[in-house]
């Protein structure tokens, strides 16, 4: 690189010129340098064109929908903790609220506090396991009698596995899960249709409130119909939308409460 020491230009400065990170007074020096050095000018022009090309190349990447499993990470967060200044107050508030109910059970929209966490727990479990390719269930439908006996014992009630063949869903199998209620055990049965869409039926004990009718809760892509029957909470969760889920949930409800 020729040029007097006063106008000596480094490669780092050429980069900064392209990225517009130079002090304004230095830009003119670089431009004077480029006018005298065609090789550097070609390099800078190429880098500038490259930057434009990279921007348009990467732009579509931002339009993709966020997977439900990522959003589920936030569902597990307590809202107020996000504001550092309010953190201590939030923790106290959560302790107070948690004493009587699930933290999620605040607000007049929730019919019965103890039931409140049911659709959330079911939805979270659904989002985790319905994505599983290798291990969606612990025990497959091939061993259905064993599966039902095992989960009935752990959850503490004689479980019935509804048949959803009419709705196009076959049983994949089931697994045991932790629960925040009753004996802390929940059962999850997974179903799948020909298109590979999955539904999960979640059952847990310890629902203190009285029996409830059919209720609906939705978050993001996932939606759940749930109810309480004889101290047990049931939730059917899927990602096909409320309309598609409703007839299936009704079939489950009818088979289980009959």
């Amino acid at each position: 690189m020729s040029g007097s020491p006063a106008t000596m230009v480094t490669e780092a400065e050429l980069l900064a010129y392209v990225d517009d990170r130079l002090p304004p007074e230095r830009r003119a020096d670089i431009e004077a340098h480029l006018a005298l050095h065609p090789e550097d000018a070609a390099k800078v022009a190429a880098w500038q064109a490259q930057t434009e090309a990279l921007r348009s190349h990467f732009a579509p990447g931002l339009d993709e929908p966020v997977p439900a499993a990522m959003m589920a990470l936030f569902a597990a967060q307590r809202p107020s903790v996000w504001m550092p200044a309010l953190r201590i107050a939030a923790v106290l508030a959560i302790v107070v609220v948690s004493a009587g109910a699930g933290w999620f059970g605040r607000g007049a929209m929730m019919p019965a506090p103890v039931v409140a966490a049911l659709p959330q727990e079911a939805t979270r479990a659904h989002l985790v396991y319905s994505k599983e390719v290798l291990h969606p269930v612990e025990v497959t439908a091939k061993e259905e009698p064993h599966l039902v006996a095992w989960l009935s014992k752990r959850v503490g009630t004689a479980l019935k596995v509804p048949s959803l063949a009419t709705q196009g869903y076959g049983l994949v199998g089931g697994r045991l899960l932790p629960a925040s209620s009753g004996n802390n055990a929940a059962a999850q049965f997974m179903y799948e249709n020909r298109q590979g869409q999955r539904l999960t039926l979640y059952v847990r004990s310890g629902e203190g409130g009285s029996d409830t009718s059919f209720r609906f809760a939705g978050e993001g892509h996932a939606a759940a119909f749930y109810w309480v029957d004889g101290g047990f909470g049931y939730a059917l969760t899927g990602e096909s939308g409320r309309e598609a889920l409703l007839p299936v949930a009704r079939a489950v409800y009818e088979q289980l409460t009959r």
Binding site: A53, L54, H57, V66, Q77, R215
Partner: protein, 179 residues
């Protein structure tokens, strides 16, 4: 009834985190796995974040990059693992295979860059991070950012046969065969 809550500030950054992760891993499942890991860690460390001193986006990118790097180190022993060497300039870094490739688009050219060079291009040229922020994300000195960036740009220029990658009417970059 809906589960109602305030959106977490991190949520708005997820598309950028996914794009950064995909740039590093070039594989969707691995990228999303990395983003899950990053979000979980960021939520765990949220309370320790130093307000304005840690601008949210570079902070998240740094966590993601760090997770990516520790996975690389964990997988280091795998015989099929590609070397991470940032200094590789010539064909040797990918066994000379690239010479024979018909480069169809910018994506193919980017695939031939070492992961950290490709990631740095995204950080600086696309995300508009300052060099200092990029240095913190990649946990390298500022001088290394400058030399890595120069190498990445020159290598990309080479790979696109001395011509700036231009976007043709089909929306894909047109690149000539590499000599």
């Amino acid at each position: 009834m809906q589960f109602r809550r305030q959106p977490h500030p991190i949520e708005a950054e997820i598309p950028r985190l996914r794009r950064f992760a995909l740039t590093l891993t070039r594989e969707r499942d691995a990228a999303d796995d990395l983003v899950q890991d990053c979000i979980a860690r960021a939520l765990g460390a949220w309370a320790t974040r130093r307000g304005d001193a840690d601008a949210l986006r570079p902070w998240l990118f740094a966590i993601l990059h760090n997770r990516w790097r520790s996975r690389q180190q964990r997988d280091w022993a795998r015989p099929d693992n590609r070397p991470l060497d940032d200094a590789g300039e010539g064909p040797s870094e990918s066994g000379g295979q690239w010479e024979k490739l018909e480069l169809r688009d910018l994506d193919a050219a980017l695939a031939l860059l070492p992961d950290e060079q490709r990631a740095l291009l995204l950080l600086v040229a696309v995300e508009g991070l300052s060099y200092e922020e990029a240095a913190r994300v990649q946990a390298i000195p500022l001088g290394t950012v400058m030399s890595r960036l120069a190498r990445a740009r020159e290598r990309l220029r080479q790979l696109t046969d001395g011509e700036p990658p231009s976007v043709n009417e089909g929306g894909r970059s047109h690149l000539r065969r590499v000599k």
